[in-house]
Symmetry: C2
Subunit: 411 residues, 2 copies
Amino acid sequence: MGLVVQKFGGTSVADATKIHRAARRAIKTKLDGNRVVMVVSAMGHTTDHLLALAKQITHNPPHRELDVLLTTGEQVSIALMAMAIAEAGERAISLTAAQVGLVTDSVHSRARIKHISKERIEAELQAERIVIVAGFQGIDPVGEITTLGRGASDTTAVALAAVLGADHCEIYTDVDGIYSANPRLVPQARKMDQISYDEMLEMASLGAEVMHSRAIEFGKKYSVPIHVRSSFTDNPGTMIVESTPGMEDVVVRGATLKEDLATVVFTDIPNEPGVAARIFSRIADNHIVVDDIMQNVHSGGTRATIGFSMLADDLPAIRNIAEILQREIHFGGAEITEGVSKVSVIGIGMRSHSGVAQKMFEALAESNINIRHISTSEIVISCIINSTDGQKALLKLHNAFALDTLPISVN
Amino acid sequence: MGLVVQKFGGTSVADATKIHRAARRAIKTKLDGNRVVMVVSAMGHTTDHLLALAKQITHNPPHRELDVLLTTGEQVSIALMAMAIAEAGERAISLTAAQVGLVTDSVHSRARIKHISKERIEAELQAERIVIVAGFQGIDPVGEITTLGRGASDTTAVALAAVLGADHCEIYTDVDGIYSANPRLVPQARKMDQISYDEMLEMASLGAEVMHSRAIEFGKKYSVPIHVRSSFTDNPGTMIVESTPGMEDVVVRGATLKEDLATVVFTDIPNEPGVAARIFSRIADNHIVVDDIMQNVHSGGTRATIGFSMLADDLPAIRNIAEILQREIHFGGAEITEGVSKVSVIGIGMRSHSGVAQKMFEALAESNINIRHISTSEIVISCIINSTDGQKALLKLHNAFALDTLPISVN
């Protein structure tokens, strides 16, 4: 008998009609001969509504109390889902994180899962119930209520699938799979049948907001096949799986555009041990998340240029930090640029194929797009360009790497 | 150092302004040198909103899941209250029933408290925090979420006050105390400074909906002084306390009117052992709550008349039961009367004073009000009359017993 974990996001449980639809899908999966565990998010805009309530009380809510507040959203959803399944004549039971025994560390608002007990869920499955688990929430070892971070119901689902040894984890959402690029920006974007965990991880961190990154990491770590699909159709979506040798034949699988970035370049820095550490620890202390870092040396290796990209929202904070660092380190200057975006191409095939970077740069040059910064990792090449060129660049790269056509194996 | 439990009902935490007001009150009580435990209800109409959500899903929700759903209302309130107190610079912590260890039996939607752990609350009080406990909710011995019945946050508060040995329990509400009669019906009704548990219990069951009956029972059982007062003023309200000999000098303390009743009279019943039991067990099996029962015998004690009052809402069910009973018991007939109300006078002084019934009947006669049924208990006399006479009767009795004047001790 199979075991399937099905996760329904906020848009998939936004109202009574959608809750009933999700309930029918779980019941069908059960009647097809599977044991079924559902993970549900808060309905629609519930979390935003709760955050707005908190904001009416204070602009600086304690994270512990914010977690107590926000976890009610998922608790409402699990109860309603259990009612919907009962209404349809099937057996179901809702479980909070405390009732499951989903234990996290004690870092409120971004806790990490430490341990999940199987006992209660397995007993309920044994009793032929559909088990409905509240996503996003946990309890710490002393029973304090925690949350796993915004969008982390995906993580709850994949972690449960891993612990329970599920055949696969289905992520039901309002899109019908993972696309070669954002279909709102690239009309000819193609839905992929499958993608590797590594590629999906890069796509997610590069702005493809279909899935929570940590969920993909869990999937990769515990080899849980993840099926991202629409809650409104029966069409198959995209399977996120371990890479196979055949998958590497496709050199580039997707392209992304990350907007609203800024870059900072510290020029003429003394290139001594510890200088980069000093710069980035001060930035991290101010809770600014750095995107990509690019460093070069000059003057015989004695001086360096360090550049990095970041969200434009954090610019006011970075200006203060730059002034402080200037006094401490005595570098040439801090050149801050707003209005930039990052285009990237992603593919595990890059590991074994050369010429991808060259092809990317040529394509951008053909469209007369100037490249400000370049950074690469094992399976990603990114270029920072002017925001005004962003969409044009994404379309050009999608076309240059023929992402709209079915990948053809070169074997 | 004193210990005070303060309960804030739904109207007292209905929005951010009111939550801040309640927070200030708790902080002031703490700064006055007390340890403070707050019990809060769900905000305003939250519970009704959640019930409406459930109704969109099913008209027959499992009680277990209804409890999972409804307890979110109080969880939202405790988190927001903790945020409000933190915003004001004081220390506070919110606790769910599971975190407190407020253990009930397993009867969902009307669970009874079995045990309350003091450890967590006392540790938090020791750490100089204001402790905010979710009202209305509990967990059963295996960790299932339960609720104590509508309006039962009062019960949570008084039970906590009993367990913690609080000096008193303050019930903050939208009225400023207990009145000699409903002020909406009797403009000259007087707010009482104090009332005994027994009188308050009768007042509550006779339709004075200020407090949950079970909370008063807890107060009586564990001698917890209960202070019912307005959350919007600093005026003292009404203390609910143990009766003292002096209190019995007041013969009648309050008068009530209970409307929307019906009466059923079974005539010419064989007066044999077990007949009454048979009638009322069949009624109870159908979950009909009987109000007062009045029985008389005639024909040398061989035949009886049994009458009882009940909510008019249950009339359709009672007609069926009457038909079934008629076939089983062969009595004369079932006379069902709609459109009746019950006026009552309440006072522990009745125990030691005579003539109260006579005075009541005379007062009603003076106003030309016909009495259909009479029932009495140790501290209550009730008359069932036509609904059209209800308000007139209440005003007359309030006046006849001089309830608008300060009780004068006859010692």
